[in-house]
């Protein structure tokens, strides 16, 4: 009788232990990454993830189509030179090796802005879907950054003047909206750097030059 009660106690405790182990592991697996996010933050996060997953889905569809054409060509014994060329154009355009043209915005900046203010503008435009950008005809690719205090900003090897234009290709309304929204980046800049004026002009057609930078690394090599 007593032995039986002991066994029951142990059974009950081990059961509870098991439940708690599972609960704890689940909490750590899913909850931990989102700990500290309010419902409002989570709503923004979900909207962002949803939006970006759609873009990834479109890319998957594009790649599946491309692979389909290539496979058909191979099966028929055809050469895929056109597909290779199209692929090359697409990747070069994205990387900034080729000049680009399209709708977008021209952002005219006047006054002593600092490097991080410029980078904030660029980051905001990228977040709003800017596809290709340049500042005073210098294509913005990885490695080209605006640095320094107001009045002494460099862009790559070049000194940036007090007035310059940031051109960005993308959806003009979306790019304009993201910069000019209340509490947005322009509003923040006018609070922190009041002597700077930023003027956004949506354009149907805007040109962005190719980079003159060597983009293939000399200290890294492809990892297989």
């Amino acid at each position: 009788m007593r032995r039986r009660r002991n066994q029951l106690t142990i059974a009950a405790v081990t059961f509870l232990l098991g439940v708690l182990v599972v609960v704890q592991l689940r909490t750590q697996a899913s909850g931990a990454a989102f700990a500290g996010l309010s419902s409002q933050d989570l709503t923004v996060l979900v909207a962002n993830l949803d939006d970006r997953n759609d873009q990834l889905r479109t890319e998957v569809a594009t790649l599946e189509q491309e692979l389909g054409v290539l496979s058909q060509n191979t099966a028929r014994g055809d050469v895929s030179v056109d597909e290779l060329r199209a692929d090359l154009r697409r990747v070069r355009l994205y990387a900034g090796i080729d000049p680009a043209m399209g709708p977008g915005v021209a952002v005219m900046v006047r006054g002593p802005i600092d490097g991080s203010g410029i980078e904030d503008l660029v980051n905001e435009l990228r977040n709003a879907g800017a596809e290709a950008m340049s500042i005073d005809d210098v294509r913005l690719v990885p490695g080209v950054v605006a640095l320094g205090a107001a009045g002494a900003v460099t862009l790559g090897a070049r000194q940036l003047g007090d007035t310059f234009t940031l051109d960005a290709i993308g959806a003009p309304d979306k790019l304009t909206g993201s910069l000019t929204r209340p509490g947005g980046i322009i509003a923040q800049l006018s609070a922190t750097q009041p002597d700077v004026s930023v003027e956004v002009t949506p354009l149907e057609r805007i040109g962005v030059p190719a980079t003159d930078r060597q983009l293939v690394p000399s200290h890294g090599h492809p990892r297989l």
């Binding site: 989570l42 970006r52 990387a95 640095l147 890294g220 090599h221």
Partner: protein, 253 residues
């Protein structure tokens, strides 16, 4: 008497089992309570479905990225076996490989450094903003900008490759890079010249960042210089919707 001795022998065994189980239980209850008590408590009813949705979307994103990398690999393999005018195809494939490396579509390995940034452990000073004690998007962008300026040739944050379209933004106390939601600690990996670390630590901007963020608020910054730094490929979209190739270069309006 013999039955008494048997009981004495038998008692410790279950007591030890029970004791061990209760000890484990205690730990787990404490861990669970600690895990449920983040920096700020929010009402659980509205958060639970949102957290579930976010988790599902994140898992879906991982699958989509894996699929993109898989398809690119298959396309590349197919292109390289493409026959015909061998010389022309070979040249095109060489150009494609160079363009893919330039675009960040190929994983790289090389010399470089890894910086780790972690939220401050210091207590928030009276009247101070708690957000200042967390690693923010601005911190990561500054580190990335300083790395580029110091000569880095490829950079990634927690495995997210920095490309021409990469944005780094705050979502509440955490950070969105490319399409991915990242939580700390944040590791910024960079491939660059042998003296990348020396160049970075000599930069006034980097020194300033360390002074204001690490010394000012206790943001934990550590730097490692492994023998080889691995940078993954960009697993996102490179298909542009608005930009088109322009036949003649540099014709800005």
């Amino acid at each position: 008497m013999t039955s008494m001795a048997a009981r004495l022998r038998s008692i410790p065994s279950w007591q030890i089992t029970l004791g061990a189980a209760l000890l484990g239980l205690g730990f787990l209850i404490a861990a669970q309570l600690a895990a449920q008590g983040p920096r700020v408590r929010y009402t659980t009813q509205e958060r639970a479905p949102l957290i579930e949705t976010a988790t599902q979307l994140q898992q879906r994103q991982d699958q989509l990225k894996a699929r993109i990398l898989e398809l690119r690999g298959q396309i590349q393999a197919n292109e390289q076996t493409s026959e015909g005018s061998a010389e022309q195809v070979r040249q095109l494939n060489d150009q494609l490989q160079q363009a893919r490396i330039a675009a960040g579509l190929i994983p790289l390995t090389g010399t470089g450094i890894v910086l780790q940034l972690q939220d401050s452990q210091e207590p928030v000073a009276p009247g101070a903003d708690q957000a200042d004690y967390l690693v923010g998007a601005r911190d990561l962008r500054s580190v990335v900008e300083e790395l580029w300026a110091a000569g880095a040739e490829a950079v990634a944050i927690n495995g997210e490759r920095m490309t021409p379209t990469s944005a780094v933004i705050d979502v509440g106390p955490s950070i969105l890079v490319n399409a991915a939601y990242l939580a700390g600690p944040y590791q910024v990996s960079a491939i660059g010249p042998d003296d990348l670390y020396a160049r970075l630590s000599a930069s006034p901007g980097f020194v300033d960042l360390i002074r204001t963020r690490a010394q000012g608020f206790g943001i934990q910054v550590s730097i490692a210089e492994p023998e080889a730094v691995d940078i993954p490929a960009f697993a996102g979209t490179v298909t542009l919707r608005y930009a088109r190739p322009e036949p003649s270069p540099g014709a800005s309006p």
